[in-house]
Symmetry: C2
Subunit: 532 residues, 2 copies
Amino acid sequence: MSEKCISIIFAQKPKLYHIYYMSVCNSLLAFDLKLKEKLNFMTKLTTRAEDYSKWYNELVVKADLAENSGVRGCMVIKPYGYAIWEKMRDELDRRFKETGHQNAYFPLFVPKSLFEAEEKNAEGFAKECAVVTHYRLKNDAENPGKLIVDPEARLEEELIVRPTSEAIIWNTYKNWIQSYRDLPILINQWANVVRWEMRTRLFLRTAEFLWQEGHTAHSTREEAMEETEKMLEVYADVAENVLAVPVIRGVKTPSERFAGADETYCIEAMMQDGKALQAGTSHFLGQNFAKAFDVKFTNKEGQLEYAWATSWGVSTRLMGALIMAHSDDNGLVLPPKLAPIQVVIVPIFKGEEQLNLIRKVADKIVAELKQKGISVKFDDDDQNKPGWKFAEYELKGVPVRIAMGARDLENQTVEVARRDTLTKEVKPLENIAEYISQLLDEIQDNIFRKALKFRDENITEVDTYEEFKKVLEEKGGFISAHWDGTAEEEEQIKEETKATIRCIPLDNDLEEGVSLISGKPSNQRVIFAKAY
Amino acid sequence: MSEKCISIIFAQKPKLYHIYYMSVCNSLLAFDLKLKEKLNFMTKLTTRAEDYSKWYNELVVKADLAENSGVRGCMVIKPYGYAIWEKMRDELDRRFKETGHQNAYFPLFVPKSLFEAEEKNAEGFAKECAVVTHYRLKNDAENPGKLIVDPEARLEEELIVRPTSEAIIWNTYKNWIQSYRDLPILINQWANVVRWEMRTRLFLRTAEFLWQEGHTAHSTREEAMEETEKMLEVYADVAENVLAVPVIRGVKTPSERFAGADETYCIEAMMQDGKALQAGTSHFLGQNFAKAFDVKFTNKEGQLEYAWATSWGVSTRLMGALIMAHSDDNGLVLPPKLAPIQVVIVPIFKGEEQLNLIRKVADKIVAELKQKGISVKFDDDDQNKPGWKFAEYELKGVPVRIAMGARDLENQTVEVARRDTLTKEVKPLENIAEYISQLLDEIQDNIFRKALKFRDENITEVDTYEEFKKVLEEKGGFISAHWDGTAEEEEQIKEETKATIRCIPLDNDLEEGVSLISGKPSNQRVIFAKAY
């Protein structure tokens, strides 16, 4: 059976792929890698219901977002995945600049003596640090062609590959800050960081990841606190209005705080399996780093004071949140604001002549869409059938697919398919660009509303520990319950149920109640969940 | 003497700064850090004629571009410097995408076994590698509060912090390339890399630097060679039309090739001291990495072949080229296309009322310039006098300065000063935005022409080794001379004069001659120079 025949059959009966591939093809295909790859690619994803975790892992790889590398725990972000990350980065970067921040770049390495200066921070990250000890390799005398670490090139002081940059940055700020006139310092850095995690998963937890880290210095506690909250709001804005992921803004309990912070603010999102994903954090660092690095300034009254600090970051983990919040059993669902290709046009044609007629109309649509700033691809590749292309662009999460065939040419119409709802309708060619432009807005909005509805339906208020365990076991999601404010109760619940306090919501209503285990009085509910 | 008085005196007599600062002030100022800093800042730069190298080092720091960090050989790129780098990056990135490339991201670390796979590449970089050997720190039992490397957390295989990414990327490409249909792969990465240099200088040579590295795979030698040349042309375009730095496009001699390349193309720029700076390289890697990592593909004829490769990169070193090519004894001279602030408006006023009148006019100019996509700052800070501001914006290289005072308000004029020529003229307010827009183009062009003229005046053709040494000693610059094509002659000249062959120019006219030392026949001239 030729590749062409197989493609045709499969284009018409997509559900046959999997069975066919599993049963008949293996031997037949052994000699045609390209075809095997194609079928592999078309093989249906594991469904979310079957195995949510497997579904995610498969989707990241099949949609060409990322893959594991030859380095333990480190990923390769592939071009399609990186294009989405670039769009997130640009949306964040624009907002950072609009709120008065500037980008800068600080060293990858932190000398051990600086790293240990802020004790809590050091303690928090010491267990997962990549450490550079040598600066040269030499030929291995016993194994020609092999290299070994040159023992004579040992560093006097070990260098830590930054897991976060407070230490190196505050050591620098020391020289920049003398007077209140030098404040505030509002700086952001786009960088790679390394945390030697033992269990890694693409995007969600990797030894190296990309992120941005804001590091600001202020002359008053109030101003630093305001900054902490302002940046949390920037993150929430991007999460909700760009990623279309609704988030709960909250404060972490002391045991979940960033190492070295006085207060950690966070945004928490719900994935489709009901688990929580911390999507961004903004830390009020008090004067901890100023004290550790002796950063004092002369205030308006001429007195010396320690500077006040914040730091805030989001990372390529957001890619995981994006994927797990919206995607379905057919593949990615991308909000239009992050889709590298927002619209794809697929011609349905027999022969070059028909294709040329379609191309003439398509070119016009492409030009009109581009003028509206919409990214569009006309896929006239004749190696793959329309059915194969439809499946491919569904897998890749392209928000809108336009199909055009002979009948459409005749009727001056196109078929418009939405990725989010998997619905199609026939639309007149007239004003099609305007229609698509509005449709993209509607899709962005719909994806958010759908996620919001799911999230809200999966927050359950409970008042007893029995009920808590039952809901967690049977329904999952977020549980809103009273807590006595102690680390002990928090720890016991975590140990017994694996659920942690995700946050104390910022917009909490005060409400009298008693805590789940100790029965002590509490005046507000907190959010518990199992988390990524 | 109050800060105000000093500022006024100095604004009128800038040349007094230095003397005053050196002689009278030190004790007086010891208690006012801010004022000391201000005077320090105003202190005249070392001139290029006095000490070119010192001038450069001072300028980088005083113009707030970068500074040395607490980590040996690593720099902090400050916001103003980073803003210029961001503009370079965006200009490059746009061109990479226009020529069909996509961005991706590969791991920071290269396992030693992968690193040593391509022997020449490994040999070239082994001597300057930062090596990660451990993944954890622990508390030092003997020194409370201190951390030590945990000897139990030694990595089974050492990880090299990438000095360049061919190895890790070709190890990845192995899984991406099966058939000619998978080619070409056109990928670029923006990343940090580490090369443990012993002598470092801000931007020019640092242990860690930022760069982009393109890595492409092709099915034919011709296509890879075409890519190598195409990307060299992209670099030359950015150097000349964005950085305003004229470059000579050429090929390196075998001894100056990138480790692992079959051919290295480069662009070479001349700095104001006549020395050369290699501003970008594009490598034809042949099948070296494909062979080292066993990357084969099935060609159209069904046969297995090794893939063909290129790699190409430019780095934050371009910042050094930019600074050293154009700047003068007053500070930076930035081509408008890279200036974070293209136009600054300085009001000259007495009292709030006059300022308000000026502000009204300035706001209109600001709005008009912004609409043309020109970045503009209205500096109405009343802490600093106009004279101080003039000096500051000269130091920072702002291309156009507009000054407005009471007389200008009366006459409906402004004073427009050009940074590149240090000239001023009074211009009518009418159509000022249009005038400024054209002026920025003219400045961009003039900066390039000036550098080109200087470069061309400092290329000398010589035909004897005596003459060569004399010109190099007395005039410097580039020397165009015949070479016998041997590594021996090249090495001898380098040892005796410190000049190296920068490149064999691509647009060389063939010309019969005899080489400098051996007297062997040669059919073209090559470019010699001392280099950064």
